[in-house]
Symmetry: C2
Subunit: 327 residues, 2 copies
């Protein structure tokens, strides 16, 4: 069990969440690593894994995209191995993520784990998402700058960095220390000793993400097929004109797709799904078999690639969303 | 010039448009065909054309999808050649479509032309869109049934038909006669003599069409990148719960994408674009060259694959939409 120490969630939410970075010294006292660098290298060989090796020789930055068969060609100079979505492979990751349950589960994206040799890091950069970076074994020098406009550049096509920044947090993280960084605050970590870092990453969809997922969903089912109608059509002097009332009718059709059962079903499946976009296989058991199983006092285990979430509701029946599966 | 005769647009819109089928006898007196069957076969060889040959031998229906190099293998028994989007290839089609200017241009989809040998037709079927079917040369027997629930079947994977229906219109069309059919009314045409038929087809997007086009547009540009934010995040007893206020915030993000300049730009480009989905090549002239050209009294010619439309506006400046091009 991972439990936060010396930490007040309410105060954190009020003063820091999405607002200000925070260093939590000894956040996990006696922190026990979830894995070691050999396990991490093993995960980086998994066929569907999102893994990268970022290496630096002086000013020469290289990025290799996994999965990896052979690490040797990429591990030159100062290098880090970064593996996304470790929570999909490691049961214990759920326990670490549970320590952050004061933030709703749907906001959590994934657990990223990095291993860095001394001197290594991905360089100064900005992210669009909140992150808690937990120091595992080793010590690492972290700096965080203030939110602002920073010129961006790409020392490698797959690596975005910003210019050096004035740190507002400048600390050497020890095992169990936690650094919280809101979106848009530049940060940079450089390992002093061989280091494991755990990034609890958050998810905040933008309009593009929402629209394209909703559109994909709409195309797959029959709930969003209301068609434009104008039995009250009015002529106009020039046929090229689109009347304001027609624009409004199109807006209404789109607005109608943002509510109702089809919208709720999409939203539940969207928010419960992890970063991976594959869909769950068809359930092999009937729903009443599941109920019987539960009524006999048995417990279900969550598939690691779906969050179990439900939408707040006044009705005594709630629908549990697990990707495409809605119970 | 094609001009409707014995036809009252206001009365048509009130009593028929999207409501009731109508036979307009002598709608185009002395109708002159836009092309003949040899021209149509020529179009059916064009690389990007959407053309089909539907043929029938007793109860055996076949459908071949063009473009066609060789017609002979498909023209057995009673056969029709149907070519969509003829307005993209034939300047004169614009003049025929202009006769329907009492309906706004953005509602028009395309001009389909069919050639049928005696006895031929695509069988009884329903469409989701309004259509005016103009009889060109030859005579054809048309029947239209009432709107209702009709069992659908597919005598060929590419051919949807309905069961036989009780006709409410039953007529032999002569050159220049026009049949208007609203969505959902079953209809069936059977040529008596070798026949050309011109279908002015309409377009009525449904929620799926709108959402997927808007999402494609959103992904291509920077106007719809507002991201979910919750600096006021509230904890909850069970982290799996998604609060109603969070659902509302997501709805608001989506709703915000249904108004404003980015939405207007999308809508203009969506409504001005024809059924083909390719985008216009980059304009090769600068905008001020265009203005100078126009100020010198020259006229622009519309590219056949885009409608020129504009949205009603109180401002003295209107934006003309031509697919991706907005002037
Ligand atoms: O572990 C690292 O080196 C990078 C961590 C980081 O920058 C992040 O998670 O945002
Ligand atoms: O021309 C034909 O045979 C088919 C016409 C038709 O059914 C239509 O345009 O909806
Ligand atoms: Co970062
Ligand atoms: Co039809």
């Amino acid at each position: 069990m991972y439990q936060l120490n010396a930490f007040n969630p309410q105060q954190f939410l009020q003063q820091h969440w999405q607002k200000q970075p925070l260093l939590i010294r000894g956040g996990f006292p006696g922190f026990v690593d979830l894995l070691d660098e050999h396990d991490l290298a093993g995960l980086a060989q998994e066929p569907d894994i999102d893994a990268r090796i970022v290496s630096r020789n002086g000013n020469n930055w290289q990025v290799a995209q996994g999965p990896f068969d052979d690490f040797a060609p990429h591990c030159h100079g100062q290098w880090s191995l970064l593996v996304q979505g470790v929570d999909l492979y490691l049961d214990e990751a759920t326990e670490l993520l549970n320590a952050f349950n004061f933030i709703p589960r749907w906001r959590i994206d994934d657990l990223m784990v990095s291993y860095s040799v001394p001197g290594a890091g991905v360089g100064p950069h900005l992210d669009q998402y909140d992150v808690f970076i937990i120091q595992g074994k080793g010590r690492r020098h972290w700096q965080v700058g203030n939110k602002g406009q920073y010129a961006e550049h790409r020392p490698h096509p797959m690596l975005g960095q910003v210019e050096p920044f004035e740190p507002i947090i400048d600390a050497i993280l020890e095992p169990g220390d936690i650094l919280y960084i809101p979106p848009g605050f530049p940060h940079c970590g450089e390992a002093i000793e061989p280091s494991l870092n755990y990034s609890v990453g958050f998810r905040a969809p933008n309009q593009q993400d929402l629209l394209s997922s909703l559109a994909d969903f709409a195309l797959q089912q029959e709930g969003l097929t209301q068609r434009y109608q104008d039995p009250d059509l009015k002529s106009r002097p020039l046929s090229g004109e689109v009347l304001g009332s027609e624009v409004e009718r199109i807006q209404e059709l789109l607005q109608a797709s943002l509510q109702g059962p089809a919208f709720t079903q999409w939203l539940g499946s969207f928010l419960s799904r992890g970063p991976q976009e594959e869909s769950i296989e068809d359930a092999e058991v009937a729903l009443d078999e599941v109920f019987e199983y539960l009524q006999n006092g048995n417990a279900l285990q969550r598939r690691l690639d779906f969050k179990g979430i439900w939408l707040e509701s006044d009705s005594p029946q709630v629908q549990l969303h697990l990707g495409e599966l809605n119970i």
